[in-house]
C-alpha cells in the first residue's frame, strides 16, 4: 500500500443517553474541511441532510472456530466494501455503535478483514461517558466497562450535572481502568472536533507529551514534602482525615531536586515494602523507617521528630498533606515552610475488574522472544486483553516499532528511526483481571541483556 493513504476511521461508542447523537451532529455541522461518511447504528438519528449517512444493522458474526477474537461486524464489511468504491466522495469515516455494543468486533473488523485492512485504518475509539450515570452502568454491565477499556479518548459528558469532586473520583476510576486514554470533560457534547477526529490515537508520543505521568510507576505513597530543619525537636501535626492510620517514611538528607526526589521515592518504595512500626500520638518518628501513624483518636494528633544536625528531611506520606492537613511546627510554634513538594501516582485499590498495566523499560528486546511471549500470552489471555499498544525497541534494528492489538490480533509496524531518542520500550495492556506481575516478568524476559 503506497499509492494512496488509507481512510481514517473513528469509532464512536457510549451508552444510551451519553450524548453520541449530539456529538455526531456537532461533528457533521462544524466546519473542519473533512467530508465524513457516517455509518450509524440501526437506531441512529442523525438529523442532518448529509450525503453519506448509512444505517447499518450491527450484525456481529462469530466464526466457526468460536473464537471471540475472530468476531467481526458483517454489516461494516459490506458497507465499507461499498464505500471503498466511492473513495473520492469522502475522506473520513465515523462509525457509531449502539450503547449496548461490545466495541471488540467493530475494532477487530479493521484487523481481520484483508480488504478492509487495505483501505481503512482505525484512527481511534472515542467513548462517551455520562458523568451522572456511568458509575452505576460500570457496575451493572460488561459492555460499559469494555467501552471504557477500548477507548483512546474518553469524553466525560454532562459534567455540569455533577460536582467537581465526583468528577475527580470518576476520572480517577476511569484512569484506573484505562491508563492510555485521553480524558476530556464536556457539557452537551461540546468538544472541539479535532480532539476526537484524526487522533492518530496510536501515537503514544502524543499521549506521553500531554500527560507525563502516563507511564509513571505507581507508588505506595501519594505525597512528599521536603523541609529544611536545623537541629532540634519538631512537632508533626495531623488533623482528622479519611483513614484511621497512615503509613510514613521520614527520609534524612532528602534534597529538593526532581532527580533526588525520584531517588528518595525509589528508596522509600523498598521501605514501604517492610512491615511498619506502629506509632501512637506523642511518640517520636524514627528517621528512615516505615512507620504507621495510629490516628483513631479524635481531633488533632501530634508526633515528634528529633533532628541532631541541620538537614533537609523528606516526608513520604501515604496520603496527601491536604487530606490530614499535615503540618510541621518548630518549638517556637512557628509552622515550617515546605522547601519542595511532590505528588505521586498512588496505587489504587483495584475494585474494577478492568485495569491497565503499563510497562516501561530501557534497552532492546529480542524480537523472537517477544513474539513467542506475546503469542503465548495472547493465546492464553487474548480474551481478557482488550487492547495493547506501545513502542518497542528491537535489538539491531534502527527503527522504532509500534505495536497495537485488539484481543488476539496484533499489528506491528516500523514507525521511524530512533536517531537521537533514547531507545526504550513502552507497552500498555488494558484488560480484565490482568496479572501485572506475570505480564511484567514475561516482558522482562524478552529484554536483551
Amino acid at each position: 500500500m503506497s499509492s494512496y493513504e488509507k481512510v481514517p476511521v473513528t469509532i464512536l461508542t457510549g451508552f444510551l443517553g451519553s450524548g453520541k447523537t449530539t456529538l455526531l451532529n456537532r461533528i457533521l455541522t462544524e466546519e473542519h474541511g473533512k467530508r465524513i461518511a457516517v455509518i450509524e447504528n440501526e437506531f441512529g438519528e442523525v438529523g442532518i441532510d448529509q450525503g453519506l449517512v448509512i444505517n447499518a444493522d450491527e450484525e456481529v458474526f462469530e466464526m466457526s472456530n468460536g473464537c471471540i477474537c475472530c468476531t467481526v461486524r458483517g454489516d461494516l464489511i459490506r458497507v465499507l466494501g461499498n464505500l471503498m468504491k466511492r473513495r473520492d466522495k469522502f475522506d473520513y469515516v465515523l462509525v457509531e455503535t449502539t450503547g449496548l455494543a461490545d466495541p471488540g468486533p467493530v475494532a477487530q473488523t479493521f484487523f481481520m478483514d484483508d480488504e478492509i485492512k487495505d483501505e481503512f485504518s482505525l484512527d481511534g475509539i472515542v467513548t462517551l461517558v455520562d458523568a451522572a450515570h456511568i458509575d452505576q452502568q460500570l457496575g451493572r454491565s460488561d459492555e460499559s466497562s469494555e467501552q471504557v477499556a477500548f477507548a483512546d479518548v474518553l469524553v466525560v459528558n454532562k459534567s455540569d450535572l455533577v460536582s467537581d469532586e465526583s468528577l475527580d473520583q470518576l476520572e480517577s476510576r476511569l484512569r484506573e481502568m484505562n491508563r492510555m486514554a485521553k480524558i476530556l470533560r464536556t457539557e452537551r457534547g461540546n468538544v472541539p472536533v479535532d480532539t476526537v477526529l484524526n487522533l492518530s490515537a496510536f501515537d503514544l508520543d502524543q499521549a506521553l507529551e500531554k500527560r507525563p505521568t502516563f507511564l509513571e510507576p505507581e507508588y505506595p505513597f501519594e505525597w512528599t514534602g521536603v523541609y529544611w530543619l536545623s537541629a532540634g525537636r519538631y512537632e508533626l501535626s495531623l488533623q482528622e482525615g479519611p483513614d484511621p492510620n497512615m503509613s510514613l517514611v521520614v527520609l534524612a538528607n532528602q534534597s529538593t531536586e526532581e532527580e533526588s526526589l525520584h531517588e528518595g521515592a525509589e528508596w522509600c518504595v523498598r521501605q514501604f515494602a517492610e512491615s511498619p512500626q506502629p506509632l501512637r500520638p506523642t511518640e517520636v518518628v524514627p528517621l528512615n523507617k516505615h512507620v504507621d501513624l495510629q490516628l483513631e483518636t479524635e481531633g488533632q494528633k501530634s508526633f515528634f521528630l528529633e533532628i541532631e544536625q541541620p538537614m533537609f528531611v523528606g516526608l513520604f506520606a501515604q496520603h496527601t498533606a491536604e487530606e490530614f492537613d499535615i503540618k510541621l511546627f518548630a518549638k517556637t510554634g512557628e509552622s515550617l515552610p515546605l522547601s519542595a513538594e511532590r505528588t505521586w501516582v498512588a496505587q489504587h485499590e483495584h475494585d474494577d475488574e478492568v485495569t491497565s498495566i503499563a510497562i516501561e523499560r530501557d534497552g532492546d528486546v529480542d524480537i523472537q522472544q517477544l513474539n513467542d511471549w506475546l503469542n503465548q500470552l495472547l493465546a492464553e489471555k487474548g480474551v481478557d486483553i482488550f487492547r495493547l499498544k506501545g513502542f518497542i525497541s528491537i535489538a539491531d534494528d534502527p527503527r522504532r516499532f509500534v505495536f497495537q492489538g485488539v484481543h488476539m490480533l496484533i499489528d506491528s509496524q516500523p514507525e521511524r528511526l530512533w536517531g537521537e531518542m533514547p531507545r526504550k520500550n513502552q507497552l500498555v495492556f488494558i484488560g480484565r483481571n490482568l496479572d501485572e506481575e506475570a505480564i511484567t516478568a514475561g516482558f522482562d524476559r524478552c529484554l536483551v541483556h
Partner: protein, 347 residues
C-alpha cells in the same frame, strides 16, 4: 501459453474495444444477445454501450439515490433491472433507456438482483429479506426476515430460490411460498454458487474457506487453506468444476467421480493480487479470472480441475467485473477507474 503479462493481449485474447464510463464501474451485463453491454457505475449512472464498437447508445444518470448497487438483464435481453441504496428496483428498456417502472421494495440497500433462468421472476435481496417480482414489477413473494443480511442469492430452478446469510443457506419455493430446505453452518457466508442442476451449493466464508453441500444428501464439506475470503465462485456449465478465488490464486475443485473430497485441486497462478471476479464461459471448460492487479486471464481446464492459462492481458486498473458474451466469443471487463473493455476470444 502466455509467458508473462503484457499490455498487449496474448494467446486467445484479441483486441476488441475500450470505452469509459463516469466512475468506478461496479457491474456489467450483456443484453440483446450480446448486441449491447450495460454498465452501472459508482456515480449511479447506467450506460448502454454498443456490443461491437463500445460506442455509447444511451446513458441515464442518478438512477438511484445514495448510489446504484447492482443490475441484471432479463433473459429475453430486453428489460434491465437496477437497484440501489434507495431501496428501489427500477426496470428499464434496454432498447432506449426508458424507465419502465420503479418499485420501492425496502428502505434499506437492495444489494442483489437475479432473474430466474426463464425470466418469470426477479429475485431481490435487501437487508434481511429476499423477495420475488414478476417481469411487470409486481411482488409475488417475500421471505420472512433472515437472522442477518442476505449476502447472496441464486436460482436453483425456475421456481426455487436459494439465499445465503450468516449461518445458513435457505431454499424457497416461490410459488408455493414455502421453505424447501435449510442448510446450516455457523459462519459468515459471503458468496454462493449453485451447480447448474441445483444439486451442489458452494459458499465462500469470511473465515477463508469454501463450504459446500450436496442437496440430495445434505452432506457437507469444507475446503480451507485460502489466503483470503473466497468472494468469487463459479461453476462450469456442466457442473463438474467449481472455480474459487480467495487470494491471488484460483483454486479449481472437480466434482468428477468421487471428488472433490480427497482430491488435489487445480491451482492457477498468474495474478499477483487478489482475485476480484471469476466466470466460466457459457460452454466448455474455459474460465476467465480478473484481479485487483489489473490482470485478466483465460484458462483452459481439464475435468480434474487442472490446466493452464491460454490467454492473458495486463491492464493498469483493478478489474471490478467480468461477463462473457453469450456466444463465448468475447469477454467484457470493467475497472475501478471506469474503463470498460471487450476482448475478442479466439477459438
Amino acid at each position: 501459453m502466455p509467458g508473462s503479462l503484457t499490455q498487449k493481449p496474448q494467446g486467445v485474447l484479441r483486441d476488441g474495444w475500450t470505452a469509459d464510463v463516469q466512475d468506478y464501474a461496479l457491474v456489467c451485463d450483456w443484453a440483446a444477445g450480446g448486441g449491447v453491454l450495460l454498465v452501472g457505475d459508482a456515480s449511479s449512472t447506467l450506460s448502454c454501450l454498443d456490443g461491437k464498437s463500445g460506442g455509447l447508445l444511451w446513458k441515464q444518470g442518478d438512477v438511484h439515490g445514495g448510489g446504484l448497487l447492482t443490475l441484471a438483464v432479463h433473459p429475453n435481453g430486453k428489460i434491465l433491472a437496477s437497484s440501489g441504496q434507495d431501496g428501489e428496483v427500477v426496470f428499464w428498456s434496454v432498447a432506449d433507456g426508458d424507465k419502465l417502472r420503479t418499485i420501492k421494495v425496502s428502505k434499506s440497500w437492495v444489494e442483489h438482483l437475479s432473474w430466474s433462468p426463464e425470466g418469470s421472476s426477479l429475485a431481490v435481496a435487501c437487508s434481511r429479506t429476499a423477495l420475488a417480482l414478476d417481469p411487470h414489477g409486481s411482488e409475488k413473494w417475500r421471505s420472512e426476515d433472515h437472522p442477518s443480511t442476505v449476502s447472496a442469492i441464486a436460482w436453483s430452478g425456475e421456481k426455487e430460490l436459494a439465499t445465503a446469510c450468516y449461518g445458513s443457506v435457505n431454499f424457497y419455493e416461490i410459488e408455493k411460498k414455502t421453505v424447501s430446505q435449510k442448510l446450516e453452518w455457523q459462519g459468515s457466508l459471503v458468496s454462493m454458487a449453485l451447480s447448474p442442476d441445483g444439486e451442489i451449493v458452494a459458499c465462500g466464508s469470511q473465515d477463508n474457506s469454501v463450504h459446500f453441500w450436496r442437496r440430495s444428501t445434505s452432506e457437507d464439506a469444507m475446503m480451507s487453506g485460502y489466503s483470503a475470503k473466497p468472494s468469487s465462485l463459479s461453476f462450469d456449465h456442466s457442473g463438474v468444476l467449481l472455480a474459487t478465488g480467495g487470494g491471488e490464486r484460483v483454486t479449481v475443485w472437480s466434482f468428477d467421480g468421487d471428488g472433490p473430497e480427497g482430491t488435489v485441486p487445480g491451482e492457477l497462478e498468474l495474478h499477483s493480487e487478489s482475485i476480484t471476479c471469476l466466470s466460466f464461459a457459457p460452454r466448455g471448460m474455459r474460465l476467465a479470472s480478473g484481479s485487483k492487479d489489473g490482470s485478466l486471464a483465460i484458462w483452459s481446464l481439464n475435468r480434474d480441475g487442472h490446466g493452464g492459462a491460454t490467454g492473458a492481458v495486463l491492464t493498469f486498473e483493478s478489474i471490478s467485473a467480468l461477463k462473457w458474451r453469450p456466444d463465448g466469443r468475447a469477454i467484457a471487463a470493467t475497472s475501478s477507474q471506469g474503463s470498460v473493455t471487450s476482448w475478442r476470444i479466439a477459438r
